[in-house]
Amino acid sequence: MSLSSKKILKKRRFIEKCFKIFSILITFSAVLLLIILLTHIIRSGAQWFDWQFLTSLPSRKPSRAGIYTAIFGSLWLMMTTVAFAIPLGIGSAIFLEEYAGKNRLSRFIDVNVSNLAGVPSIVYGLLGLAIFVHYFNFGRSILSGGLTLALLILPVIIITTRGALQSVPKSIPFAAYALGAKKWQVILFHTLPYALPGILTGIILSISRAIGETAPLIIIGAATYVAFTPESIMDEFTAMPIQIFNWTSRPQEDFHSLSAAGIIILLAVMFTMNSVAIYLRNKFQRTKND
């Protein structure tokens, strides 16, 4: 080997090493930030984190304030969101993927769905305010909030569901068609079940996004002080991120740590949902071996 080619080799090895170290550093700095954030939140919120906090209504006094109504508000909100977003999202995805074909209209819808997924959430809030709160006159209710959040996650559900449908190997629907199945039978009995883990993952991830959304709810006017748990979807409501936002914006120091306790709960809910998503994906994927 000549001297110059040895030199080049050495240089390449050096660059390789630098790049590796660089990637490791980047990764760990991200993880480190997350750990710092979490410990900070847990340390400041832990003192308030007890049963009383979970079961109390909001209050002027930090020692008596709790997140009870916000938890229930979020639950109601998510149920409403899911009830609208899932059928609409999966239905649209099936239409776009299986029926629409490749014409101008479907391409137009396609581009718009992708764009909608990138629209800032506050814009959805304004839309919800104009349409659901005022035009349909649903007021500042759970229904308005749920519909707004449903719109917000709809594009994501459509995109992930389409991805899941696309990943179904063609041989499965072909086998069904070869038995004389009609298209709806193929989709309902084979394509959808096969794509289910992917669809579920998409849905759960978008719900964990929706449960943390604050801006659209503030715009449509979710109340910050609600002294009762909702009884119908037309009731006023508060939600966990709203409650947290409200506590952080108060001057008293105690409320700030109270909001940290609220964040712990919100994060716990999100982590749980993400774990469920991963669990479901693995569970269903294990039954496929191709």
Partner: protein, 251 residues
């Protein structure tokens, strides 16, 4: 066309967009016979097979000229109910493709969507017996079909096709993804099935064609070069191309 004929083509041309894959084919398939279609890759044999139950409808740009008669009806006509055609003309694919369901469901799903009245366990047992799979799977009918070995999966796919009580079974290189032992089992099975069914099989393997079929059609570059009794094709081919192909591979 004779009384024995169940399906025949008339001046059939098949195209993928501009490309003419099958050229002016007139061929006749007889009832209760096994017809093998052989020829080098890209000769149009699979294209022809997949047209016989209209599975090529899913290929973009695919179009046809000419006619395919199945019991006096042209199945390429727009008026044909494709689902009904596929119910009567079954298919076994190149790679085993069982449904992501249990073994029994794989068999019963087809008949059930056509609203046929049947005894589930009876149907499952008889189809699995015919496919020579019963003894291997009778204790685990509720297991996922995808847990079976490749050869077992393919026999399950054949059982699934039989469950429909088709008049014709099309087989598209059914052994190409299998090991020699599984291949031998499937070949035995075809030997059994020829009593009750009409089978059209596309194969790369000429020995296989010689072993399992009554008639053989040799395709080359989209044309039907020679068609006749299998023993004639393999012992005294009349066309030079046929002879070259048969001897070139194994001579």
């Amino acid at each position: 066309m004779t009384d024995l004929s169940i399906m025949s083509t008339e001046n059939l041309n098949l195209y993928y967009s501009e490309f003419k894959a099958v050229k002016n084919i007139n061929i006749n398939f007889n009832k209760n016979e096994v017809t093998a279609i052989i020829g080098p890759s890209g000769c149009g044999k699979s294209t022809l097979l997949r047209t016989l139950n209209r599975m090529n409808d899913f290929v973009e740009g695919f179009h046809t000229e000419g006619k395919i008669y199945f019991q006096e009806k042209n199945i390429l006509s727009k008026k044909i109910d494709v689902a009904d055609l596929r119910k009567r003309v079954g298919m076994v694919f190149q790679r085993p493709n069982p449904f992501l369901k249990n073994i029994a469901k794989n068999i019963t799903w087809g008949p059930s969507i056509h609203g046929r009245d049947f005894d589930q366990s009876e149907l499952v047992e008889s189809c699995l017996r015919k496919a020579g799979l019963w003894d291997e799977v009778k204790d685990r009918l509720n297991n996922m079909a995808t847990d079976l070995s490749g050869g077992q999966q393919q026999r399950l796919c054949i059982a699934r096709a039989i469950a429909m009580q088709p008049e014709i079974i099309l087989m598209d290189e059914p052994c190409s993804a299998l090991d020699p032992r599984s291949t031998a089992r499937i070949e035995d099975l075809i030997g059994e099935l020829r009593k009750d069914y009409t089978i059209v099989i596309v194969t790369h393997n000429m020995q296989q064609a010689a072993r399992v079929s009554d008639k053989t059609a040799f395709f080359y570059e989209g044309e039907l070069i020679e068609f006749g009794e299998t023993k004639d094709i393999f012992t005294k081919p009349t066309k030079k191309q046929t002879e070259d192909y048969i001897t070139g591979r194994f001579g």
